[in-house]
Point group: C2
Chain length 319, copies 2
Amino acid sequence: MAVYTDLSDEELTTLLADYDLGAALSFKGIAEGVENSNFLLETEKGRFILTVYEKRVARADLPFFMDVTETLANKGFPAPRPMRRKDGALLSEVRGKACALIAFLRGVSPKKPNVAQCRAIGETLAQMHVALEGFSGARDNSLGPSAWAPLIEPRYALAETLRAGLAADVEADLHDVARAWPNGLPRGVIHADLFPDNSLFLGDAISGAIDFYFACTDLLAYDLAVCLNAWCFEPRGAYNITKGQHLIAGYQSLRPLSAEERDALPILSRGAALRFFATRLADWAETPPGALVRPKDPLEYADKLAFHRTATGAADYGA
Amino acid sequence: MAVYTDLSDEELTTLLADYDLGAALSFKGIAEGVENSNFLLETEKGRFILTVYEKRVARADLPFFMDVTETLANKGFPAPRPMRRKDGALLSEVRGKACALIAFLRGVSPKKPNVAQCRAIGETLAQMHVALEGFSGARDNSLGPSAWAPLIEPRYALAETLRAGLAADVEADLHDVARAWPNGLPRGVIHADLFPDNSLFLGDAISGAIDFYFACTDLLAYDLAVCLNAWCFEPRGAYNITKGQHLIAGYQSLRPLSAEERDALPILSRGAALRFFATRLADWAETPPGALVRPKDPLEYADKLAFHRTATGAADYGA
């Protein structure tokens, strides 16, 4: 929720001269995304999001993200199409920063997804995995399992201040996940961050899946585990198995899980919870007291880890 | 530039049930306005701005602001029409705060207005003054001349730290303005804050004048003086007399100034600069070092005051 780069009308006119989108009709910074500056732009040709990439997105990764998003849009997946410049490029530059113009998608992000929306996001995730089968690009998951211990271990003391006993619990999580991680499962391009914030709905029908800036090559079932964490919990770490059943059923309607993938859901879900706990703990550590933008609460994921620790099999998730 | 109130999709649906605008198609917080939370809302009936009024806008004043804005829209002035609820009311409530749905206007705010845009804003200001002749409502200017000394005098020490000698200069400004203020000039409803930020243009044609939350009953020519300060200076307090000529000529094309109003332009302009210096100085004093949102620079208006001090007559402004 920020606009770091404040573009003038003149800079916008210069930028638009490189596209076939006509002149600007309106232009407003939007309070969305913590990684980038985003603007809602209307031109004579339609509505677009202008994203200016700030420091947290590696410039070298942008062509992969753009390629994934455009490929999905070409295949009828509800991803927002990046617009090509007159010279064919997908990326431009303003103030020394990379930027892109991306088609605007209608829809509203649900704060408390319902069961029908959980089914829809499961279908959408599978649709993405199927659409990207055979995709030629690849990107390592920089927030995969090997990244979690380095983010968490130096901050055990902070974790203890947040909740007594948490450091030992999370140390056990890291140990168990490292030992049991199912590296041999089917791989492909995953979204890796398909939270309600990154989805758009018109009623219960999905109208968009956005923000492919964590997309990478990793286990497909891990992406499902990320969604189970993001969509199927009620407050205080209470897993809503009805939502889980619908999300998993929606996924399997387009891409049935193998027996190995199904059996791995508990450890994948525990790993996915560790991944978000790890980055939230690090963000918490870096935020000075009294800062205007409050970081997301790491304890939300500590609560979810507590559920995953007690799960005995895929049936506990609704699979 | 802030969104203080973050509404959920469910709260939005509840709010829209009180209007005849159909269901939400998209909803995004926008980084605009420091006083209120603003959202760009698209429904089945069109596009709207949802404004949630935060603490700085007095609730008792909202009916006046809404009435002014709707009256202007009814008279063909490019103000954004506030939408009436099914029960006829212009204001709603969310989370215990007042809010309103206001028609979306196209256009882009100029960062560096050109001469043609200065003429257009002069015409627009006069169009507003004429359209509101005989308007029945009234509101005292809470940031009128009597408010300036109480905002500035306790902060002379701060003013000195910003620029040596500034306290004595501003003390003289306050003295001269209090002595020479032309209280007898024609009065009416003024915008009082018609900065480039609060204007929308499509090319050089004005498409909107927005944010009537400082509107009040005061000298009409003072409103023109606010615009001369806001639109006709180049960096470092250099007055651009060509812009001033066009802005004043645009104004006079619809509402000619009386001789008394014309003669008063230097003192009115000096007072208008004091008004913005005063609130910027107070905001500066209240902002802790290292705050994420940097306040606007009081010295921009100290520079403008230096010009006004040397002006000898209306001709120096292009009148």
